[in-house]
């Protein structure tokens, strides 16, 4: 992990920018679950696999409704206009392209946008949940992950070595060190933290990077 990477607020800001004007969004567990705090001023309906369209902030203690939880099993509220749909409709929403975007954590992303985020190599058993449905179904798949593993090995790789979630599904990778578009022309760096060079970034990345023609920090 680079010492000069973005802290969470700046990182989250880049994810928010990558969301564009997305209004219906599913946030994966882990890092993406931290986003609502940074998206409070945005008009977004957060979808949860269990059928809630429009999860709101955690209720005050004592106001919890047991049947209103998110994918991390935390209590949530319903935002105004939020609803609960039948479970099979919830997955029609996911798989049918009705979500503007999803933000997912990941173990690895490949140069071609293949995603690995549900299991580790050699695992006897893992949970997949809705990960594969989200990866194939959301109109835009944004990955939010650290740029490297703790040991410094790259999480952006030429070819996945972790079990695949979906092929070629990732549109944007927002790490703590870069905003990278996954395009037919390859991985295009659009933004890096101040002071970081493309050479430094490439050194932490397991697949070739190209600089955006428009330069970095384009929205």
């Amino acid at each position: 992990m680079s010492a000069i990477g973005w802290e969470l607020p700046q990182w989250a800001e880049r994810v928010a920018a990558s969301l564009g004007d997305a209004r219906y969004v599913n946030l994966g567990v882990g890092l993406p679950a931290k986003l609502p705090h940074y998206l409070a001023s945005r008009s977004i309906m957060f979808h949860c696999e269990n059928g809630i369209v429009g999860t709101g902030p955690a209720p005050d203690a004592g106001d919890e409704i047991p049947e209103l939880i998110d994918a991390s099993s935390n209590f949530v509220s319903l935002q105004p206009g939020g609803v609960v749909v039948p479970f099979e409709v919830s997955f029609s929403i996911i798989r049918g392209g009705h979500l503007d975007a999803t933000v997912l954590g990941a173990y690895q992303v490949s140069a071609g946008g293949d995603l690995a985020n549900w299991s580790i190599p050699g695992a006897r058993i893992a949970g997949v949940g809705g990960a594969m449905d989200l990866a194939v179904g959301a109109r835009r798949v944004i990955v939010m992950m650290h740029h490297t593993n703790r040991d410094g090995s790259p999480k952006i790789v030429d070819e996945l070595t972790y079990p695949m979630t979906a092929r070629g599904c990732v549109d944007v990778i927002v790490t703590n060190c870069a905003v990278i578009d996954v395009s037919p022309a390859g991985l295009i760096v659009r933004d890096v933290p101040e002071g970081m060079t493309i050479e430094e970034l490439q050194g932490m990345t397991g697949a070739p990077l190209r600089l955006s023609v428009a330069g970095t920090r384009g929205r």
């Binding site: 209004r23 008009s43 429009g54 105004p80 609803v83 099979e88 929403i93 798989r95 049918g96």
Partner: protein, 233 residues
């Protein structure tokens, strides 16, 4: 500032409320148009009337019935010569003179689909599924030419997802977020079509000022693109 922020949020998540004429603007020639309703109930009369008044042509219309002589029903589209093809389950009705006229003039091609298969093909589209096997129509003239497979000892045919470019939906009540309620059986075809088209145009009898009960919504606003109040100017 919390209050202001709340207002901004509401505005951006709110669905455009437009006239019927505005709602159907920009529907391209040749579009696949899903038209809700069943047996004359739940038919989007205002939107159909507005669509018939445009100059769009060569539409592929997906509709259970092809007109029952009711004011503002899909017969208008056949009368106005807007339809190239109807994908339909129960097209013939004694009072459906416009459709019969279009048939007689050889203006319209008909694809007859069993009712359950018709709704399921649109559900598959809305649910992101490529297709399904169903026992319905296997071995019959309507199953001819379809891929067959015996599953669990039953002959089944393969049916593909049926996507709409546009859906015309009639609801009873909406909130500003586009959440919808239908009245009794008036959700027939409407609720499925509302999930199966790129652009979902909804007419309703009324728009509530407060959000609908979140546990009592038939179609969630996520599926809806615009709202039109029936009878509004």
């Amino acid at each position: 500032m919390t209050h202001l922020s709340g207002d901004i949020r509401s505005d951006t998540l709110a669905k455009p409320i437009v006239t019927a004429a505005e709602a159907v603007e920009g529907i391209a020639d040749g579009s696949v148009v899903l038209v809700g309703g069943w047996g004359g109930v739940g038919v989007p009369h205002a939107l159909l009337t507005a669509l018939a008044a445009t100059s769009v042509s060569e539409l592929v219309v997906v509709t259970n019935n092809c007109g029952m002589g009711h004011r503002g029903d899909v017969g208008l589209l056949f009368e106005a010569g807007r339809v190239r093809k109807a994908i339909t389950s129960f097209p013939i009705h004694p009072a459906g003179v416009e459709f019969r006229g279009a048939l007689a003039r050889d203006e319209v091609e008909v694809e007859l689909v069993p009712q359950g298969t018709l709704v399921e093909r649109m559900r598959a589209a809305g649910a992101g599924l490529g297709g399904f096997f169903t026992p319905t129509s296997a071995g019959t003239p309507l199953g001819e030419g379809k891929e067959e497979r015996t599953i669990d000892g039953r002959l089944q045919v393969f049916e593909t997802a049926l996507h709409g470019d546009v859906a015309l939906v009639h609801g009873h009540r909406a909130d500003t977020y586009g959440n919808l309620r239908y009245r009794y059986a008036a959700g027939a075809f409407n609720s499925t079509m509302a999930m199966a088209a790129n652009r979902v145009i909804v007419e309703v009898d009324e728009i509530a000022s407060d959000p609908l009960d979140p546990e009592q919504v038939d179609t969630a606003g996520i599926f809806v693109d615009s709202l039109t109040v029936v009878g509004a100017p």
